[in-house]
């Protein structure tokens, strides 16, 4: 097997990132959701908890098995809402961030090349098929991870900062958050990417790809809704297991995508 031409790979990645940063239509939706989920939501919850310190969460946790609800119910009443929402309920919602960012960027990286009519000249260059796929993967994966992690950092600062008068201590990240950030989020980013690679092969514009790929986000939103109603409160082993399943599915899809990612197949779509 020939060695990866990293100069070419990083050339494509650098160009894609530079171009994305200059594209408001890509950057704004890509950053709006993380800001909403990672900054506004925890901030609002913290402020609400400070305004009404005696809110009972027992009713919310009524349907949740006792073992799962116990760590929250054992806390002082004024801390329960903050810990429930910012410590637990936002964790699955947070998965929307890597999924969405990787999907948006993958649509731009793959379908966007067709839309801008830049794909053919790229295929006529000397970059190898495998290196081009790797470059496009990294162009979407690295920013998705960066936005997720930076978003999480913002979340930690906002959640702890706003809740400090009530909590008087740092309460996130929890171990669940650690698994989400380091294990599940990269898996989800890869899944979003793998799906968009396939979707992009069937569409001609990034917008079409995003619309078609949007169907992928729905199951996750469903999961998040389930979480918020107390039906699906994940524990640490479950989170690790979910991550493993997502990794497996993502890598399987990605492998299929790599096989189909040939110049011959791509140029037929131009």
């Amino acid at each position: 097997m020939t060695r990866t031409d990293w100069t070419a790979v990083w050339g494509v990645v650098a160009k894609d990132l530079r171009a994305v940063v200059r594209s408001k239509s890509v950057v704004i939706p890509m950053l709006a959701v993380p800001v909403l989920l990672m900054v506004f939501l925890p901030g609002a919850i913290g402020l609400a908890a400070r305004a009404a310190p005696g809110v009972q969460v027992e009713r919310l946790l009524g349907d949740v098995p006792g073992d799962l609800a116990r760590p929250i119910l054992d806390l002082p009443v004024e801390e329960q809402l903050i810990v429930l929402v910012n410590g637990y309920l936002l964790a699955p919602l947070f998965l929307i961030v890597p999924l969405m960012v990787s999907a948006v960027l993958a649509a731009d990286a793959f379908a966007g090349e067709k839309e801008r009519k830049t794909l053919e000249s790229l295929l006529h260059s000397s970059i190898r098929d495998r290196d081009l796929f790797l470059a496009k993967f990294l162009s979407a994966f690295l920013p998705a991870l960066a936005v997720s992690w930076l978003g999480f950092l913002a979340f930690v600062i906002v959640a702890n900062g706003v809740a400090w008068p009530v909590m008087g201590r740092v309460f996130v990240p929890t171990r669940l958050w650690g698994v989400m950030i380091l294990w599940v989020a990269p898996a989800v980013a890869t899944l979003g990417l793998a799906v968009m690679v396939r979707v992009s092969a069937r569409t001609h514009t990034a917008q079409e790809a995003n619309q078609l790929g949007g169907a992928v986000i729905l199951p996750l939103i469903f999961l998040a809704v389930g979480q918020s109603t107390g039906l699906l409160l994940v524990t640490l082993p479950i989170a690790v297991g979910i991550g493993a399943v997502i990794w497996a599915v993502a890598l399987l899809l990605l492998r299929g995508g790599v096989k189909r990612f040939t110049r011959d197949a791509l140029v037929a779509q131009v």
Binding site: D5, K117, L119, E120, L123, S125, D264
Partner: protein, 327 residues
């Protein structure tokens, strides 16, 4: 080893039909091949096959001694391509687009900046170098695309409609540049174009494609010899030739046909050496002869004659000749 281009039975099928069927041709190093034909003729498919972007279903090709189907990556390091849409990223500046192309091709180091600057200046893009490509005219995009295709000093150039959308001055500049790349720098050039004028000025060989099939291939002069018997010439008499004058011309040995024209007569002769006899006979008959000019067929004449004969053999009316001259 052949340093140019050789194809034998090159065929590519698509789900919708034939992309290219049984293409066999040969282009020597330093020659310009004009790929001619209407939209959907197979010109772009040919370029893609020759540069290893598409794989053939049958047949094979060798470009610079390499098989594009098996050594495409290696080959593309030595070829440059200007696609029909220049393929530039609008969000980057002209300079950044060239830097990007350089990095993909593994061209790095301090010499890159100088090379990019030189190309931007050469193609009149120096002043726009640091502005986004969005907002650039079609001509500027073409010139930038051409600059990018030359960045790595390729041995073979594939140019797809290099002058479409260019104004007359830019067209002239690009045509001159392409000509100099072949004649002075010895590059082999495949020029896919609708513009027969530029093809006529540049091409050593022409290949006429139609619906994926090679209709005609060769040097324009050789194809003309196959198409016509003798040479066309025009005699300027200052006015349409009279019947008597036409009879005088027709009686000269070596004159095959003669027709009146607004300025005198158009005749077909066995060779250019017949013309002095025609002039002498007309002058002897008291006709004022202002000029007698041989008119060797141009690439355009050859192309339209091929198209007309194909239409006739298929029982179709001949396609109109956009030049307004008889074919």
């Amino acid at each position: 080893m052949h340093d140019g281009i050789v194809t034998e039975g090159l065929t590519r099928l698509f789900p919708g039909g034939v992309g290219l069927a049984d293409l066999s041709l040969e282009v020597a190093s330093g020659e310009v091949l004009a790929l001619l034909g209407p939209n959907g003729a197979g010109k772009t498919t040919t370029v893609r096959l020759l540069n290893g972007v598409l794989r053939p279903d049958r047949g094979h090709a060798r470009v610079l001694g390499l098989d594009p189907a098996t050594h495409g990556d290696e080959l593309r390091r030595r070829t440059g391509v200007l696609t029909e849409h220049a393929g530039l990223d609008d969000r980057l500046t002209a300079r950044e687009n060239l830097h990007y192309a350089a990095r993909i091709r593994g061209i790095t180091g301090p010499a890159v900046e100088a090379r990019i600057g030189e190309l931007l200046d050469r193609f009149g893009m120096g002043e726009r170098a640091d502005q986004p490509v969005r907002g650039a005219s079609t001509g500027q995009r073409k010139r930038l695309g051409l600059a990018r295709s030359l960045l790595h000093d390729p041995e073979v150039l594939f140019l797809d409609e290099p002058t479409s959308g260019l104004d007359p001055t830019a067209t002239r500049d690009v045509v001159e540049l392409i000509g100099s790349l072949a004649t002075e720098h010895g590059r082999t050039i495949v020029l896919a174009t609708h513009f027969l004028g530029e093809a006529g000025r540049l091409a050593d060989r022409m290949a006429v494609l139609d619906r994926g099939e090679l209709v005609a291939y060769g040097r324009p002069a050789d194809l003309a010899d196959d198409l016509w018997d003798g040479l066309e010439a025009e005699v300027d008499l200052g006015a349409r030739a009279t019947t008597e004058q036409l009879d005088v011309v027709a009686s000269v040995i070596g004159v095959h046909t003669v027709e009146p024209s607004p300025a005198g007569a158009v005749l077909r002769v066995a060779g250019r050496d017949v013309l002095p006899h025609v002039v002498a006979r007309l002058v002897g008959a008291g006709a004022p002869v202002y000029a007698a000019v041989p008119r060797p067929p141009t690439l355009e004449d050859v192309y339209f004659e091929i198209e007309a004969r194909r239409a006739a053999s298929a029982g179709l009316p001949p396609a109109p000749d956009p030049r307004g001259v008889p074919t």
